[in-house]
């Protein structure tokens, strides 16, 4: 009766195989990510199905959805543009950036543009504090990061989506070119099945809690 399992049996087996059988609850993150691929957000029945697969309570699964900005519990636009406005980023003007961006798009934080194209969200530390203002984009093609942004570059990106729907590679817009090693992982391929990228992502989320406590 587990629709999620039926639909993604191979993927789920592949994910579960990465964890010791007595610690399969650890697979909750990739399974949530997998479930999110369907509709762009996680529905209540997904929690139940994941709970069943991992033999934990639906509440345990649900707590994780709320904790990480990686997951969404309600539908959003085609692209989710998630701006970090945690303390270090705020010091580099993230709040102002976010405010202006919203103003230009005619939405409030958390809202979606009327054409359903973009949802603007404020999120916790994305582990790129020194390259703020920055945001991550989540959409059907996975996760990408855009660092050292200005309102103009961000708007250009939105315009680009609006005109042809395709996503340009992040590099021409973000000023990443020339920078060497970054603590922020850049997915080099489209992320569908969840793998290392997402777990790295959670690592940066954990960092966020620490930042959180100090504010």
């Amino acid at each position: 009766m587990n629709l999620l399992y039926e639909k993604y049996a191979a993927e789920i087996k592949h994910i579960l195989a990465k964890y010791p059988a007595d610690q399969k609850r650890s697979a909750v993150m990739p399974l949530l990510y997998l479930a999110q691929q369907e509709q762009g957000y996680i529905q209540k029945q997904d929690l139940q199905m994941i709970a069943e697969i991992l033999d934990i309570s639906a509440t345990d699964v649900g707590s994780i959805v709320g904790f990480y900005t990686l997951y969404h519990d309600h539908p959003g636009g085609k692209h989710r543009l998630q701006v970090c406005n945690d303390l270090p980023c705020a010091l580099r003007g993230a709040d102002e950036f976010l405010e202006k961006l919203c103003e230009n798009l005619g939405v409030q934080v958390g809202e979606t543009t009327p054409d359903g194209l973009v949802t603007i969200e404020a999120v916790m530390c994305l582990a790129g504090c020194d390259r703020a203002p920055l945001f991550q984009v989540q959409d059907a093609e996975g996760i990408r990061y855009y660092e050292n942004q200005t309102v103009e570059t961000a708007l250009q990106l939105v315009e680009h989506w609006r005109s042809d729907g395709a996503t340009p590679a992040p590099s021409p817009l973000g000023l990443r070119a020339g920078q060497e090693k970054s603590s922020t992982p850049l997915p080099d391929e489209t992320v569908t099945g969840l793998s290392a990228e997402v777990r790295d992502e959670t690592a940066s989320d954990t960092a966020a809690t620490e930042t959180q406590e100090t504010d």
Binding site: Q48, I56, T59, D60, S63, G66, F67, T209
Partner: protein, 844 residues
């Protein structure tokens, strides 16, 4: 014994075992360190920072590894630059703790200022106001003013239903996590959790149905603010208006100690009414927990308008009200005339005093005292029950607990909790059941058997043991153990202490007697008898079934014959006609039926005389728990005019029949009982009222520490010694279970559910939504074979009659088995073939 550590807390010298947390060390010498997230029953998490103290440790010389001494020869104490949490820091030798310094006071002020940043401070309308740790600690340690902007307070849901019984006020929650940890750590049912984070952190449930746990009410006791409230008590009263009355829960054989909170109310004409039920500490029985049945169904029945308040006599075929004099006279005359033909049928809801007097009366009239119980083995429990000094809370690594034929969480929720925690502490838990139950998850060994072969399973386990203390009968050889049974048997035999709890899943009286005997023999052969934490526990169906056995009542397999041939039947606190229609027929045939009851039950409807009684919260008495602990309860509320306690009715009937019986007070009946019932020798109401200090210390001014559970000041009761502890040699009896042939087709199996339609449960307002209508359980395959789906209305065909029920699909049910909950309207009391049909659609 752990090593003792010496330290100073606020200039007081303290000596505590190694590993003790500072907060607890302080508590032991009467120093209160304020806490919110710490709770003595749970692992420390250090989340709230309320317990900050200054900690100094002796400076150690790096070279010599010895403490550095000052000129006076005293060790030099080095204080850390920051405050530390007393709830997460264990004591260490020579430590100096300062809990009153200016720095600490400032720390507390700051933490409280933070906690109150967005707190609604609606104390005047908050259920917790008056017993609120946050309120109290703010008064004591708070800054008095806040630097945070009032206008920026968050506004959140004030009445968020987490489940049917518990509501959450999100503005009041301080995110201490006690509720979440209780459900996760203690109960093992993490159905509430944190969601979001930072300032958006909230308590939430994603389970379906939401916060649905038999232990949910306890979270409202330990929540340090008014964030969690029960549908039962919210906005019901202010804590300072309430008076506490000690009692014992009357719902199951665990015997949890409880407190009724009462106050006078206009709606009751100025009389006292019960406003809520809270746990009363008894570390050897229920610690500081109770289940939701105790909290929400334990008393509301007493207030039911359906209560009987006048005696009734049958005149011209109708029950009409009469005076007590007349009713008692009629009963006494008929009983006397029945010479030898009196059958007294009593339920385990009665107190020891009631049962003692009923037994005296019945014996005096040469009648038979019959116990309503489908579980046998009470005499065995008196001989081989758990020994005096038993405490499930002490069992852990090296010990073993075997639970057989019992869905323990449904039958005795607090035992379930304590057994589960014993397993958490490392005890070997052996769960032997025909289907999966909630205990299996914590079991070391899970054995399955087919319905009907519970005794065979135990006999096979006995067979698996090598060291044979006594010659085993030859027929035993045919019970060959499989490897799982062998492993479990060896684990049980090898344990330091061993306890067996046996229940009544799918059993009638004869089967249950066989099982009890087999369990007793297993205990005997493994030497788990006669010393504390060893022995047999019956998971009885009522609070005082054990007491009834002890008072000399015995169940009977020939009830029908007995009733139909009796010259007089005296039914007390039981409803045989409601349980089983064939017993109703039998009662119709008997010459004279007297029913002594709270409500007009099916049996009362066909009685010749109906006598109304006092409810448990309205009177005093004692119960004997399944662990054979005799405990007192006290009158909390006045009884409605016209009702009399059971023991008194029995005595008055006795007097009118020429017997000398005690009717004046329960305490005097108990004195007689203690003089005549040998195991109860030497007990008195006074000895049952004795207490000693328990750990953790709770229920005093420091409600923030343990929660709102009450300290036990009214008595811990006395645990009886089974004969095995009195060094009486126990003779093993062997009885070969008869071979029974089971039919083909569907097998109906009676099971027990916590929320049933028992007389004292149905009137509960709070539980109304939780008590289901009649339902039956089958697994998917069976449902498919029947071509039926979950939640289908069906008819259960049983012994020629049809009963409407809902069909529910449950994967834990074995194939071709139909589980039929007892006391929900379908009279199945033994394994019996059944049939399921599509419900005839009722014309609209």
């Amino acid at each position: 014994m752990a090593q003792l550590i010496s330290l100073m807390i606020d200039d007081k010298p303290v000596k505590v075992p190694e590993g003790t947390l500072i907060v607890n060390a302080a508590k032991k010498v009467g120093i209160d360190i304020p806490v919110f997230c710490y709770h003595p029953k749970m692992e420390p998490v250090g989340m709230c920072r309320m317990c900050l103290v200054e900690i100094g440790r002796p400076q150690i010389d790096r070279e010599t590894r010895k403490p550095v001494l000052d000129e006076q020869g005293n060790p030099v104490i080095q204080f850390g630059p920051k405050l530390e949490t007393a709830c997460t820091t264990p004591v260490s030798e020579g430590m100096v703790v300062m809990g009153m310094s200016d720095k600490v006071k400032k720390g507390r002020q700051d933490i409280l200022e933070f906690l109150l940043t967005s707190h609604p401070l609606d104390c005047p309308i908050c259920d917790k106001g008056g017993e609120c740790p946050l309120q109290n600690l703010t008064m004591e340690h708070g800054p008095g003013v806040s630097r945070f902007l009032y206008d920026e307070k968050m506004h959140l849901a004030k009445h968020y239903p987490l489940g049917d019984l518990i509501l959450l006020d999100r503005e009041r929650c301080i995110q201490c996590g006690r509720c979440v940890r209780f459900q996760d750590e203690i109960v093992g049912e993490p159905v509430i959790g944190f969601e979001q984070r930072g300032r958006s952190l909230q308590i939430e449930t994603f389970s379906d149905p939401g916060f649905d746990s038999y232990y949910s009410g306890n979270t409202t006791d330990i929540c340090p603010v008014g964030a969690l409230t029960t549908t039962d008590f919210r906005f019901g009263a202010r804590p300072w208006e309430l008076k506490p009355v000690a009692s014992v829960c009357s719902q199951c054989p665990v015997g949890c100690n409880i407190t009724y909170n009462i106050r006078r109310e206009a709606r009751a004409g100025g009389r006292y009414v019960i406003k809520r039920v809270l746990p009363r500490q008894h570390e050897e029985v229920n610690e500081i927990w109770i289940c939701d049945k105790a909290r929400f169904a334990g008393y509301q029945y007493a207030e039911s308008p359906e209560r009987l308040t006048r005696p009734m006599l049958r005149r011209n075929g109708e029950l009409v009200e009469s005076s007590w004099d007349e009713a008692l006279q009629v009963v006494a005359e008929r009983f006397k005339a029945a010479t030898g033909g009196l059958v007294t049928y009593a339920g385990g809801r009665l107190s020891n005093e009631d049962l003692f007097n009923l037994k005296q009366l019945t014996e005096g009239l040469k009648g038979q005292a019959i116990l309503k119980s489908s579980i046998g083995g009470g005499v065995l429990v008196a001989q081989m029950g758990v020994a005096k000094g038993t405490d499930l809370g002490k069992l852990g690594a090296g010990d073993a607990i075997l639970v057989i034929a019992s869905d323990l969480q449904e039958e005795a929720p607090i035992w379930w909790l304590r057994v589960k925690q014993a397993a958490d502490r490392g005890a070997t838990l052996i769960v032997v059941n025909p289907r999966q139950t909630r205990l299996d998850r914590f079991a070391t060994h899970t054995l399955r058997y087919d319905y009907g072969s519970e005794t065979a399973t135990v006999l096979a386990m006995i067979n698996a043991l090598e060291s044979k203390k006594t010659r085993l009968p030859d027929w035993l050889a045919k019970y060959r153990p499989n490897r799982f049974q062998t492993a479990a048997a060896k684990a049980f035999a090898g344990a330091k202490n061993g306890i067996i709890l046996f229940g009544q899943e799918g059993m009638d009286l004869p089967r249950s007697q066989e099982l009890a005997l087999a369990c007793a023999n297993l205990l005997f052969l493994t030497d788990h008898l006669g010393s504390p934490n060893n022995g047999l526990i019956g998971v009885w169906e009522s609070a005082n079934t054990q007491g009834a056995w002890d008072m000399g009542f015995r169940p009977s397999t020939e009830l029908k014959e007995m009733f139909s041939s009796a010259r007089a039947v005296y039914v007390v606190a039981a409803d045989p006609a409601g349980d089983d229609p064939s017993l109703a027929d039998a009662l119709e045939q008997s010459e004279f039926v007297v029913v002594q009851e709270l409500f007009l039950t099916s049996t009362a409807r066909l009685a010749d005389v109906v006598l109304p009684v006092t409810a448990q919260p309205e009177r005093e008495g004692t119960y004997t728990t399944g662990e054979r602990r005799v405990q007192r309860f006290f009158p909390a509320i006045p009884a409605p005019g016209g009702v009399i306690p059971d023991y008194e009715i029995a005595a008055r009937i006795g007097e009118r029949s020429g017997l000398k019986m005690e009717n004046r007070a329960a305490s005097l009946v108990f004195a007689q009982l203690a003089a005549r019932v040998s195991d109860y020798e030497g007990l008195s109401y006074r000895s049952l009222a004795e207490t000693h200090e328990q750990w953790p210390i709770i229920g005093r001014d420091d409600l923030y520490y343990g929660g709102t559970a009450y300290e036990n000041t009214q008595g811990l009761g006395v645990q009886l010694m089974p004969s095995s502890q009195k060094r009486k040699i126990f003779q093993v009896n062997w009885q070969e279970p008869p071979v029974r042939v089971s039919g083909k087709g569907l097998l109906g199996v009676p099971i027990t559910r916590l929320y049933d339609r028992g007389a004292t449960v149905t009137p509960s307002r709070s539980l109304a939504s939780r008590v289901p209508g009649p339902f039956i359980l089958v697994n998917e395959t069976t449902a498919q074979k029947l071509d039926m789906h979950n939640d289908a209305p069906v008819q259960l065909m049983l012994a020629g009659s049809a009963y409407s029920a809902m069909l529910r699909v449950d994967t834990a049910v074995p194939e071709s088995v139909v589980l039929v909950p007892r006391s929900l309207g379908i009279p199945l009391s033994e394994l019996q073939p059944v049939d399921i049909r599509v419900a005839e659609t009722t014309p609209a």
